[in-house]
């Protein structure tokens, strides 16, 4: 394992510290925790908290700031944060309007956030949650715990965050978050695995001429391996699955081409070139495109495509001001 770190036991700690030192105007850290909150507490409005394992930077702490999250909780690499940490975050940001937790659909994340919510409710804090499950690679119907939450989560942060900033009620913020979740679908692929620092070796192996389709954001294996193809063919495969999942015909969409951590921007743009063409051919109008690293998996080389089917409310909220370290609409 070759990584630019100091100590595998200090990776999360030093990452959070580095972020806070880089953006002191935006974020601060709750002492003794890996919880990052806005440097200026929002009052009188619904507060949003999200989080997950570390290793997805800039998610989630990079989205703490005006128009998006109020707090993000970082667990160990690829491991859900613990309930006590989430609880500290909830207590810190809680307002009389309540707190919405944005959780990605992983067994551990859901359990830890729900335990934290129970703790917060015991102290009289109003807490509700939404669970994001945008990954079409995994079958949500029969044998699994449901689809995973991946890069589409960032759209939930953006749109629900904008709604909260408008002064909407907890019920209204939750409703728009649910609407995003109902209308966003994503799928990923990778050509290299990634190495959890504490594990010291990659989570899976992949041959030089192979790719993993349907990969998750934790270096966990995807649905299958196959021979490497050209970018356009890979895009066709992912888009086919996404477009088959909900009816996008005639709609306007927000597109996110997300790099998994070690994918050159050049390649992400090549991906977007074809995504854009395919959508145009199908009569789907692209309202806004985001290309970059939004939900990474350490140094994995690969990408995900997310398509959010928009309506007027979501368009307006997507366009609303967001000013965070990693996501800006100004």
């Amino acid at each position: 394992m070759k990584k630019i770190i100091n100590d595998v036991g200090q990776v999360e700690e030093q990452m959070v510290e580095g972020l806070v030192k880089a953006y002191p105007d935006y974020v601060k850290r709750i002492d003794g925790t890996t919880v990052v909150t806005r440097s200026q507490k929002k009052t009188g409005k619904v507060a949003l908290i999200s989080g997950g394992g570390s290793g997805h930077e800039p998610a989630h702490a990079g989205y703490v700031g005006k128009g998006m999250l109020d707090a993000a909780v970082a667990g160990a690499v690829f491991t859900s944060p613990t309930p006590d940490q989430v609880f500290e975050g909830i207590k810190e940001i809680a307002t009389d309007q309540g707190v919405l937790m944005v959780v990605k659909n992983y067994t551990g994340d859901v359990m830890n956030f729900e335990m934290a919510a129970d703790m917060a409710r015991d102290e009289g804090i109003k807490v509700d949650e939404v669970v994001v499950n945008d990954d079409v690679a995994v079958d949500g119907s029969l044998y699994t715990v449901g689809r995973r939450g991946i890069a589409g989560t960032v759209f939930v942060h953006k749109i629900a965050g904008a709604k909260a900033e408008e002064g909407a009620s907890l019920e209204e913020v939750k409703a728009v978050a649910e609407k995003v979740i109902a209308n966003v679908r994503s799928m990923s692929m990778a050509i290299t695995p990634c190495t959890v620092p504490a594990a010291g070796k990659p989570g899976f192996e992949i041959a030089e001429d192979e790719m993993e389709i349907g990969i998750g954001i934790h270096g966990e294996p995807g649905t299958h391996k196959e021979k490497m193809q050209k970018a356009d063919q890979i895009v066709d495969q992912l888009l086919t699955k996404i477009l088959a999942d909900i009816d996008y015909s005639g709609s306007e969409v927000a597109v996110m081409i997300n790099g998994c951590g070690a994918t050159p921007l050049m390649e992400l743009l090549i991906v977007n070139n074809h995504v854009s063409d395919v959508l145009k051919d199908k009569g789907i109008k692209v309202y806004r495109t985001f290309v970059g690293e939004y939900m990474t998996s350490l140094e994995m080389e690969g990408f995900s495509i997310s398509l959010l089917k928009l309506d007027d409310e979501m368009k307006k909220l997507l366009d609303a001001t967001a000013d965070t370290p990693a996501f800006k609409v100004l």
């Binding site: 690829f78 309930p83 699994t144 934790h218 294996p221």
Partner: protein, 207 residues
């Protein structure tokens, strides 16, 4: 069967067996999960070890509850809430007790299983730790009813848990992160069922 001093020794042994097998548990997690089960469990039990000296003289319920809280606050993932809830529920059954007999032990194990199922909503046959816990507890119950000594019924429990681990190799995961790899989970033993078996082995080794 045991007093609070012995419970502390057993918990030390649990931490030891988890530490020795941390890499093995992590390796089991790689093909069907996210490559961290041993790392996370070891981190949790290291915290437990740190806190054990402060628990001397406390009742068994308080000891188990503190172990559960330590695990919940340090393990993370799904193992943290599951093992943490198991120990906390077990602690509730043993609250105020400085000594437990075989029947208390079964009640503690039942409560632990109840906690795991409450939190994880898993049933038998979904390739989870429950697939080792249920047969192990059934075997130990039978042993207790037959009047076997702790050393004997615990041995039966470990054997049944190991069979449960073997059984997890034959089935598709439908709970937890392993469910995402679908049929590719067949052939792999469940890391959580395996770590539970180690925990039970640590108890059995004390008799």
């Amino acid at each position: 069967m045991t007093d609070n001093t012995k419970v502390i020794e057993i918990i030390k042994a649990m931490a030891g067996i988890i530490h020795e097998n941390a890499q093995f548990l992590t390796d089991l997690d790689a093909p069907i999960g996210d490559n961290d089960h041993g790392i996370n469990m070891d981190r949790g039990f290291r915290k437990v070890l740190e806190d054990l000296p402060g628990l001397e003289g406390k009742d068994i319920g308080a000891i188990l509850k503190k172990v559960g809280m330590d695990l919940v606050s340090t393990v993370g993932g799904s193992s943290g809430p599951l093992y943490g809830t198991a120990f906390m529920k077990a602690g509730a059954v043993a609250a105020g007790k400085n000594e437990i007999d075989a029947n208390d032990f079964i009640a503690i194990m039942d409560a632990a299983l109840g906690g795991v199922q409450l939190r994880g909503k898993a049933e038998k046959g979904e390739k989870t730790m429950v697939d080792a816990m249920i047969p192990a507890i059934e075997a130990m119950k039978k042993g207790v009813e037959e009047g076997k000594a702790p050393g004997e019924f615990l041995k039966d429990g470990v054997a049944a848990a190991k069979e449960g681990v073997e059984y997890t190799k034959t089935i598709i995961a439908t709970k937890g992160r392993a469910s995402y790899v679908g049929e590719r989970s067949i052939g792999h033993q469940d890391p959580g069922a395996t770590s539970f078996t180690f925990v039970l082995e640590a108890i059995a080794a004390a008799y």
